[in-house]
């Protein structure tokens, strides 16, 4: 069992969770992921590392409650435990020797982009950061990213933070005004990574994207996570999860990503009902016990 040490709701959808896993904490590097299973009936889900503290023996994950498992996960509290927490899986992002980088995070991807930006910054690389969210209430890691970047721009789809637009607009501007990046790193929705890669390609800037396909074992066994890179299929779990953005077939990745959409929707609806009613039960129980105390 892997004890949960801390849980923090970052916004209406996103939760940060600190899990005790001392061996993994010693080994995991930016870009690598863990696979967790909540309980005996649970599915294995991959989550790329947000932060690791080898001294404390903890690994931090950040997730969005969008599917049955993440909805369930978001109901857990400090003191609860996860049945399984395995890793590190995948390869660390290749960040060695980079001098001038632009790190781009879209939505939840920002949580994964953060350790990469931080690592680059700590190594003396000059880091620009662009992040994008649907609206200002969903903005993540703004202060943390500001602290490890020399330039930071937050975009929102609805312009509610004053910067309306997609992440590729400021990227394009920075490139054209001579930013001279030797690496652009994009983590976020497939469609965002696709357009980042299209933006950097004419300039020949090395672009890494972090793919997050459907995965079952995470050890190279099942092939569920295959991503078309150039002419061949690669396994995101053992060959990735980072790939050359100029070679990834993003349209194929988008098709593959929805393979289990119907199952996921059914499970999500069931989970919403189940955990909402459990929350009500808890509230009712809490109310009942406080009433008893008062009496």
């Amino acid at each position: 069992m892997y004890p949960i040490e801390q849980v923090e709701q970052l916004n209406a959808e996103v939760t940060r969770m600190v899990v005790r896993a001392p061996e993994i904490a010693k080994k995991i590097k930016p870009g690598q992921f863990i696979m967790l299973r909540i309980d005996e009936h649970g599915e294995r889900i991959p989550l790329t590392m947000n932060e690791t503290d080898p001294d404390a023996g903890t690994v931090t994950i950040v997730f969005q409650a969008v599917g049955a498992t993440t909805i369930h996960l978001a109901t857990l509290r400090a003191g609860d435990s996860l049945l399984d927490f395995a890793g590190p899986f995948g390869n660390p992002t290749e960040l060695e020797g980079v001098k001038r980088a632009c790190v781009i995070g879209g939505g939840l991807g920002t949580a994964i982009a953060y350790p990469q930006a931080k690592w680059l910054h700590d190594q003396g690389c000059e880091v620009d950061v662009i992040t994008g969210f649907r609206n200002k209430d969903l903005i993540l890691f703004e202060d943390e990213l500001a602290a490890c970047s020399s330039w930071h721009m937050v975009m929102t789809d609805d312009g509610s933070n004053g910067n309306k637009g997609v992440v590729t607009a400021p990227l394009q501007e920075r490139i054209e005004s001579g930013a001279n990046y030797d690496l652009v790193l994009a983590v976020g929705p497939v469609i965002m990574m696709k357009f980042v890669a299209l933006t950097t390609k004419p300039h020949g800037i090395k672009t890494l994207v972090s793919m997050n396909p459907i995965m079952i074992d995470g050890t190279g066994m099942c092939g569920g996570c295959r991503v078309k890179v150039g002419d061949e299929y690669k396994h995101a779990c053992v060959d990735g999860p980072d790939f050359d953005g100029h070679l990834v077939d993003f349209d194929d990745a988008m098709h593959r990503g929805v393979m289990y959409r119907d199952f996921e929707a059914a499970a999500r609806d069931a989970a919403k009902g189940k955990y909402a009613s459990e929350a009500r039960d808890c509230d009712a129980a809490a109310a009942a016990s406080s009433e008893q105390k008062e009496a």
Binding site: E23, I24, K27, R37, H41, G42, E43, R44, A68, T69, L83, D84, F85, A86, G87, P88, F89, I216, D217, T219, G220, M221, C222, G223, G224, R226, K228, Y233, V238, D252, H255, R256, V258, M259, Y260, F263, E264, A266, A267, A270
Partner: protein, 476 residues
């Protein structure tokens, strides 16, 4: 004195094994073969004529004393029979079910010269199941061997928890070593757990074999992917293991390399079987992992994994076509598996080969284009080489396709273990007798050495490597 201590049964055929009705079982995951009753077992055991040469024993990779245990069964001494089997074979309930007995012990049985061989596999299974049901399992295993004092306290790390690893772990624990098994997944058993379906090998049985090892003192560390979480050097230098056994199997899927393999609805047998066996996808939504099943499924391949995949897809509700490029005669799957698949309604499209997967605009498979084949001259494997018949392409409409054409070794251990020599296919090079690799203290066996093969060959290798490791530890 008579050679045979019981009255032999002259019956030419094996005592029939009760099986679930094909129509009923094609809709559920319950075990197909129901096992012998005590009466069936005694009846079948008495078909053994106790021939002095006992060729059956040479046919057994782990050296089960076959005539001896059968003699005990014939007399109804099941506990004695179990002790004999268990001493040689760490996983008898599993071998009795999944061993290809027809090419091993039963393939050379003297009785098979005229009629059917003795049902050795069925008897082994009966004895193991009887022991489990009557709770004598762990007692006899403990009594079988005393720990050796020079091995007590020696620490051995076992990487992987499939049949080779479990056998190696059990042998070394019996001899007194402190054994710890490292498994990347959340459940032990390797292919026994993620690969072989419930209807052929019930998972509670695998769990029971694993917990017996735990009772013998073997420690299991789950969620530990060696090569990522710990390297083999770290296990030896920092964590104090005196020797390491690598039994990581052949877990990487092979692809056909044809157009359209990325369409949704196309999956490897490993994916289908892992979703169903390890994650219990067939019980979705009670279990959280879903598994997609189409209306019509093409399975490409002709081995045991292809049969497992076909019969699994069938149970999920699909009409299943196994597409195999040679004829039935060359099919590598066990005859029993092919027979069971046919009985359940799997359709075999022989002498044809997929050349292209066809899909729709949404990225879903809609059909598999195949080409007819004919058999030419024998190839290196001795089987007649299939040659495509030009212009014979045709399309099977399908909304699901499973690729079951074999598996490869995961390169992770090779990549992260300096000094460990591997072949160009990433197979670990190991001595056949001792399992010793090019790296001192590191041993290997099973599919990771010989490529995808059978459970029993892996167990044989695990057993020999255990002897090799013990020898190494005693000399060290």
């Amino acid at each position: 004195m008579a050679r045979v201590s019981y009255e032999t049964n002259k019956q030419q055929e094996k005592t029939p094994m009760p099986e679930l009705d094909p129509g009923a079982r094609a809709k559920c995951f319950d075990e197909v073969a129901c096992g012998y009753s005590a009466e069936d077992a005694i009846n079948e055991a008495r078909r053994c004529i106790q021939c002095p040469k006992a060729p059956c024993m040479d046919g057994c990779p782990v050296g089960v004393p076959i005539p001896q245990f059968i003699e005990q069964v014939a007399h109804g001494n099941f506990a004695e029979a179990y002790a004999l089997v268990k001493d040689a074979n760490a996983l008898p309930a599993i071998c009795g079910r999944v061993c290809p007995q027809e090419t091993q012990c039963e393939g050379v049985c003297t009785r098979s010269r005229k009629g059917e061989p003795v049902g050795i596999g069925r008897l082994e299974r009966f004895v193991a199941d009887w022991a489990m049901e009557n709770g004598v399992a762990s007692d006899s295993a403990d009594a079988a061997q005393q720990p050796e004092k020079d091995l007590v306290g020696k620490r051995v790390a076992i990487v992987g928890s499939g049949p080779a690893s479990l056998t190696c772990a059990g042998e070394l624990a019996k001899r007194g070593c402190a054994v710890r098994v490292f498994e990347a997944l959340h459940k032990a058993g390797g292919v026994l757990t993620y690969g072989i379906p419930e209807f052929r090998l019930p998972k509670d049985l695998v769990e029971s074999e694993v917990s017996q090892l735990a009772e013998q003192g073997v420690e299991f560390e789950m969620n530990a992917l060696v090569g990522k979480l710990y390297s083999i050097d770290e296990l030896m230098d920092e964590r104090g293991f005196d020797a390491v056994f690598v039994g990581t199997g052949a877990g990487l899927p092979s692809y056909l390399g044809i157009e359209g393999e990325g369409f949704n609805g196309v999956m490897t047998a490993n994916e289908l079987l892992t979703r169903v066996n390890l994650m219990k996808g067939y019980l979705f939504p009670d279990y959280d992992t879903p598994v997609y099943a189409g209306k019509k499924c093409v399975v490409s391949g002709g081995g045991n994994v292809a049969m497992d995949a076909a019969r699994t897809a069938l149970r999920l509700g699909a009409e299943v076509h196994v597409v195999y490029r040679r004829s039935m005669e060359e099919m590598p799957a066990r005859a029993e598996e092919i027979h069971h698949a046919q009985e359940e309604g799997v359709i075999f499209d022989l002498l044809c080969n997929p050349v292209r997967v066809i899909g729709n605009e949404d990225g879903w498979v809609t059909g598999v284009e195949c080409i007819r084949m004919e058999l030419g001259e024998p190839d290196a494997s001795g089987r007649r080489r299939p040659v495509p018949v030009e212009g014979s392409e045709y399309v099977i409409d399908a909304d699901m396709m499973v690729i079951a054409i074999g598996s490869k070794t995961n390169p992770l251990i090779a990549q992260t273990t300096p000094g460990l020599e591997v072949t160009s296919r990433n197979l670990v090079i190991a001595d056949e007798e001792t399992g010793a690799t090019s790296k001192p203290g590191v041993f290997a066996g099973g599919d990771t050495v010989i490529g995808a093969a059978t459970v029993i060959l892996a167990m044989g290798a695990g057993k020999r490597a255990a002897a090799g490791i013990a020898q190494y530890l005693l000399e060290k």
